[in-house]
Amino acid sequence: MSWTVVARKDFRDALRSRAFWGVSALFLLLVVSLSVAYAQVDELSGGDPSALGLVFFIATAIGVFVSIAAILTCYKSVAGERESGSMKLLLALPHTRRDVVLGKVAGRTGVLAVPIVAALLVGAGLGTALLGEVAPLATVLFGLVGLLFALTYAALVVGISATTGSTGRAAALAIGFFLVFELLWDTVVIALVFVANGFVFPSGPGALPEWTYPLVQLPPSNAFVTSLSAVIPDAPGAAAGPGPGAGQVETFFGTPWLGLVVLLFWVVVPLALGYRRFARADL
C-alpha cells in the first residue's frame, strides 16, 4: 500500500526533528514531576492517592503536550513540502495526493506515540513505586485513548496544513485553532450563552442551558478526558467530563461516550476538508 511507504518515510523524517525531542524531554520531565507530586502532596490527590487517580491526574498534562507537540511536528507537513518544492519530488513517484496526506497522518501519529508510550511506562513505574499499587488495565486503556488523541491531533493539524501552500498561513491557522478551541473555549461558550440569553448573563444554580454541556466537549483535549471516563472502568468522580452540571444531563449528550464521537469528528472532518483543497491545488 503506497501510503505506508510515505508513512514510514515521514516517521523516519519527523523522528529526527530536534524541536520534537526537546518537547518530548520536557514532557517526560513533567510526567515525572506530576507523578511524584501527586503521590506526595495530599491536596492534589484528595488525601487518597491511587494508581487510577494518578492516571487521570496526568491526563491533562498529556492533553496539553499532545496538542502542542502535534502542532509543532505537523503544521509544515503538507504546506512546508509545497512551499519548499519537496512535494514535487514526492509526487514525482507513484503516490496519489491521498497517499501523501494519509501517510503523513500515520507517520506523525507514530512519532507522537513514542513519547506518550514512554511517559506512560514511566508514570506507571513511578506510580507502582510510590503508591505501591498497579492499575494495569487502566494504564493500557489510557494509552490507547492517548494514542487515539494523538491520531486526532495529527489528523487535525495535517488537515490544516493541507489547505495551504504557505507555512506561515498553516502556522497561523494551527495556532489560531489552538487559541480558540483549547485556550479560550470556555470564554467562547460563555459568550454564546450571553448572546442566547438576550445579552444578559444567567445566574443561579442550573442556570446554564443544557446545550452548553455538549458544546464544552468540543475541544479535542476535553473530549480526550471525557473519553477516558467512558473507557476506563471506575473512573474517579473528579475526572468526569468538565462542564456545568454534567450529572444533570440525561440524554446521550451527557454520556462520556460523546467524547469518543467528538474525537472521531476531529479526525475525519478537518482532514477531509484539507485533503479536498490539496487535491485540486496547482503545485
Binding site: 523524517d13 514535487k88 519530488l89 514525482a92 513517484l93 503516490h95 496519489t96
Partner: protein, 299 residues
C-alpha cells in the same frame, strides 16, 4: 502507441496564458528536446504532464493513460526529474533512493544507483547538505529507478558541471538505445543537439516548430554557412547574382570575405558564381547552421 501525447492544452495563470492550445507527440523510444526562451511555458507543459497543474482545456496521455485521471499509473511507467524541487526533509541520499525504489516497486540496490550517479562517497550524508550538482544527480538517480519507459526531465543539466552534463547526455543516449523514450526541456543547445532525435520550439506558450534538427535547418532555408575569402572585394552585382541563386537565403560581405547561408545543394553553385569574374578563392569554410541560429530564427 505514442509515449506522450499532449492535445489542445491551454493553461492560464491569473491573466497570463502560459500554454495556448498545445499539441505535441513524443514517440516510443525517441528523444525529444523541448526548447524555448525563458517564460515560454516549457516547465508549465511538463508540470501539466506530471499532474502538478490541471490544464484549463485539453488532455495529456502517457502510453494511452490520461495523466489527469490516473497520475499514479502514469508515474509507475515514467521517471521524473522536475524543476524547482527540493530534497525530502532530513533524509540521506541513500534513503532518498531507497524511498524511490520502494515507491516504484523496483529491485535496484540503492548503493548501485548512487554509484552510477557518482554519489557513493556522500550516500549517508543528509541530502539537504548536498551541493546543487549533487542534488541534481540524486534526483536523476531517483528518476531512472524502476526502469521507466519514458523519462521526463525538466532542465536536467541545471547545476551540473560539464562532466555531470555529459553523464546525463550519455545516460539518456544509452537509455534511448534500450528503448526508453525521453522528453526533456533545456536551454543548453549543445546538449540538445548532441542527443535529441526531434526538437520542439516553444515560444509564448505556442509550439512554433517541431522537427528533427536537420529538418528544422532545411525548413529555415539554410543547411549550411559558407565563408569564402576572395582575392578582391566582390562587386555588388556579383553579390546580387549569388543572392539570386536557387537555395541561397542570405548573403553578406565584409571586405573580401563573403558569408552565404544556403542549402547544401547550392554550395557548389555559390562558389562558381563568386569566381565568375576570374576571382580566386583564397580560403573556404563551411559549417552547418547551428541550433543556436535556428533557435534565434524561430524565437
Amino acid at each position: 502507441m505514442s509515449a506522450l501525447t499532449i492535445s489542445g492544452v491551454t493553461k492560464t495563470f491569473g491573466g497570463v496564458t502560459a500554454l495556448r492550445d498545445l499539441d505535441l507527440t513524443v514517440h516510443e523510444g525517441e528523444v525529444f528536446g523541448f526548447l524555448g526562451p525563458n517564460g515560454a511555458g516549457k516547465s508549465t507543459a511538463i508540470n501539466v504532464v506530471l499532474d502538478y497543474l490541471t490544464p484549463d482545456t485539453g488532455s495529456v496521455e502517457v502510453f494511452g493513460v490520461d495523466a489527469q485521471a490516473d497520475p499514479v499509473a502514469v508515474r509507475e511507467r515514467v521517471g521524473v526529474l522536475p524543476e524547482g524541487y527540493s530534497v525530502l526533509g532530513e533524509l540521506t541520499g541513500r534513503e532518498h533512493v531507497a524511498f524511490a525504489v520502494e515507491s516504484k516497486g523496483g529491485s535496484e540496490d540503492p548503493a548501485d544507483v548512487l554509484d552510477l550517479v557518482g554519489l557513493a562517497p556522500v550516500a549517508d550524508r543528509r541530502a539537504a547538505d548536498y551541493s546543487k550538482g549533487m542534488r541534481q544527480r540524486l534526483a536523476f538517480g531517483m528518476a531512472i529507478v524502476g526502469d521507466p519507459d519514458l523519462l521526463v526531465l525538466d532542465e536536467p543539466t541545471t547545476g551540473l558541471d560539464p562532466n555531470g552534463a555529459r553523464f546525463i547526455r550519455d545516460t539518456v543516449s544509452s537509455l534511448r538505445d534500450d528503448g526508453t523514450a525521453v522528453f526533456f526541456s533545456s536551454h543548453i543547445l549543445d546538449q540538445v543537439e548532441a542527443v535529441a532525435d526531434r526538437v520542439g520550439i516553444l515560444r509564448g506558450g505556442e509550439l512554433v516548430a517541431v522537427d528533427s534538427i536537420d529538418g528544422l535547418r532545411t525548413a529555415a532555408g539554410g543547411g549550411s554557412r559558407l565563408e569564402v575569402t576572395l582575392d578582391a572585394d566582390p562587386s555588388p552585382a556579383r553579390l546580387d547574382a549569388v543572392r539570386g541563386l536557387d537555395g541561397v537565403s542570405e548573403v553578406t560581405a565584409a571586405g573580401a570575405t563573403v558569408t552565404v547561408a544556403c542549402e547544401n545543394r547550392a554550395k557548389a553553385a555559390v562558389v562558381d558564381e563568386l569566381r565568375a569574374d576570374g576571382a580566386t578563392v583564397l580560403d573556404f569554410e563551411t559549417s552547418e547552421t547551428s541550433l543556436d541560429e535556428l533557435f534565434a530564427r524561430y524565437t
